[in-house]
């Protein structure tokens, strides 16, 4: 049953992603991407990563994509009219390159290059403690420095966004 769920969700994810890149209208593109992200959240739940799933919805679907929609509407780009195509000859090679990239990645996935080490956080252990609690613990002890650095990153990004977008400060 879980397998079916995976296949269904994966199909939705891929379909919406493909729609995104062929969709003329950016608003619809954004909506497709939202759907992709929500489907990914479902996949995260299947992978026992509840916290990541929730954050995926809140941050990606709820905040970042709203920002995208907001900008699209602000610039009123509703008609996806692409006036000038300077590189019409790049379309076919690009798609071929994409396929080549996919093939290579699949080869890497099948190869012995990807080796992992089993860690201590088994499903049973995680469920005993609680996924959120574990992440919180790790984030505020072992990974405190990167966590703080991301906060600085966000701070700087906020300043940068204001600097860029404001006409006059």
């Amino acid at each position: 049953m879980l397998a079916y769920l995976f296949y269904i969700v994966a199909a939705i994810t891929v379909t919406t992603a493909v729609y995104l890149i062929f969709e003329k209208n950016p608003v619809f593109g954004a909506l497709y991407l939202i759907q992709t992200m929500v489907s990914l959240a479902v996949l995260y739940i299947l992978l026992e990563a509840q916290f990541v799933a929730a954050v995926q919805i809140i941050v990606y679907a709820g905040a970042i994509m709203v920002l995208f929609l907001f900008v699209i509407m602000l610039l009123n780009l509703d008609i996806g009219e692409e006036t000038k195509n300077a590189l019409p000859y790049q379309r076919i090679p690009a798609i071929l390159m994409g396929i080549a990239l996919f093939t290579i990645i699949c080869i890497v996935i099948r190869s012995k290059l990807l080796q992992g080490k089993q860690d201590q956080y088994t499903t049973a252990f995680v469920q005993g403690v609680g996924n959120t609690k574990l992440i919180g613990n790790l984030l505020f002890t072992e990974y405190l420095l990167p966590f703080e650095i991301t906060s600085i990153l966000l701070f700087v990004a906020a300043i940068g966004a204001i600097m860029l977008a404001k006409r006059k400060l």
């Binding site: 619809f28 739940i45 919805i57 809140i58 709820g62 907001f70």
Partner: protein, 346 residues
């Protein structure tokens, strides 16, 4: 994800025994019950609001249909149902149709994790009076409510009307801004409870309501909630006088009714969250828990109506300044204080 029943077990068909079937039935019943009650409340809210506001403004309100206009919502509903369903020619049809549903669904979904009563025994089965107790209920609420914005934004854009679009843009900016303070105001409660489950939050308030310990948090939450559901005095996205009703200008008939209902449903949702997080949930003496819950909920809803009839609408820049320059620092301050107290108390 589910505490009572592990999600991973679903995959094993052979283990789908009787117990699971019973569980399924109970959940379905609970869903239907909650959905029905909420719809009923929405309908009665429409009547109540008109009546209460009328009395506050020293008039009578609806009096014609039924005693004291009691059947007015039903009359309104029938009227809307039979009106012509207009879809503007240049509108984006799919989104235009989808938008009201998108507004309605998240409002209802939130109820899935709100506990409305203590556990009771029915026919030998222990039944929690909550549709499902998720251990990340807090995150769930925010995940779902952050999606609620899309209904309004899509409606505003799909209508292909500049007023609607302005309403949509306004609401997206407003809701992003206030969602931040909304979330931060509840962090204090979560820090004290040390759990993200709403059942735990309610249980932790058996002795003392959180509104006593977190008055600032409650104030911030309620203010942000009003903005989040686009109620007066923060109803900029649908300001009749400047935007000709904003994002639902082009809507008519049942679609309009759904927006209308979504707004009230959202109101009930945020009130229910307020009750759960700050007002002790279903906790209370003498009366049955469910009754206590409904009573507190009604009190909150009355507060909404009260504010609507007393406060004037803010200007848009005032709204933004209030959110970013006052509420956000205040909520951060609140978290800081809460953290300090927790650390000092050990």
């Amino acid at each position: 994800m589910l505490r009572s029943k592990n999600a991973a077990d679903w995959g094993n068909v052979s283990e789908m025994n009787k117990e699971f079937l019973v569980y399924l039935v109970i959940v379905c019943v609970k869903i239907l019950l909650v959905f029905g009650v909420v719809q009923l409340m929405v309908i009665s809210m429409i009547w109540l609001e008109r009546k209460i506001m009328a009395h506050m403004q020293v008039r009578l309100g609806p009096m014609r249909v039924g005693p004291h206009g009691l059947l007015q919502p039903i009359a309104d509903g029938i009227k809307l149902l039979f009106k012509e369903d207009i879809i503007p020619e240049k509108a984006s049809k799919l989104l235009f149709v989808l938008a009201p549903a998108m507004a309605m669904v998240p409002a209802m979904l939130t109820f899935a994790v709100i506990p409305f009563g203590d556990a009771v025994k029915i026919l030998g089965y222990k039944v929690d009076l909550v549709i499902t107790d998720v251990n990340i209920g807090f995150l769930y609420i925010f995940g779902v409510s952050s999606l609620g914005i899309y209904g309004i934004v899509m409606a505003g854009w799909a209508s292909n009307n500049k007023y609607s679009l302005l309403g949509g843009i306004r609401s997206s900016a407003q809701m992003i801004s206030y969602e931040l303070t909304l979330g931060l105001s509840l962090i204090g409660v979560v820090m004290m409870t040390e759990s993200l489950s709403l059942v735990d939050v309610v249980n932790a308030q058996a002795k003392l309501w959180n509104i006593i310990l977190q008055p600032i948090g409650f104030f911030i939450y309620f203010t942000s909630a009003i903005a989040e559901v686009n109620r007066c005095p923060f109803d900029l996205p649908e300001a009749e006088s400047e935007l000709v009703a904003g994002y639902h200008t082009e809507y008519s008939s049942m679609k309009f009714a759904m927006f209308f209902m979504a707004e009230y449903a959202n109101m009930i949702t945020v009130s229910a969250i307020a009750v759960t997080f700050f007002l002790g949930g279903w906790q209370g003496p003498f009366l049955p828990p469910v009754v206590w819950f409904l009573l507190k909920l009604s009190g909150c809803l009355f507060f909404f109506i009260w504010i609507r009839s007393t406060f004037p609408r803010l200007r848009y820049d005032q709204l933004m300044h209030f959110g970013w320059k006052f509420l956000l620092p205040l909520s951060l301050f609140n978290i800081l204080i809460t953290g300090l107290v927790i650390v000092i108390k050990g």
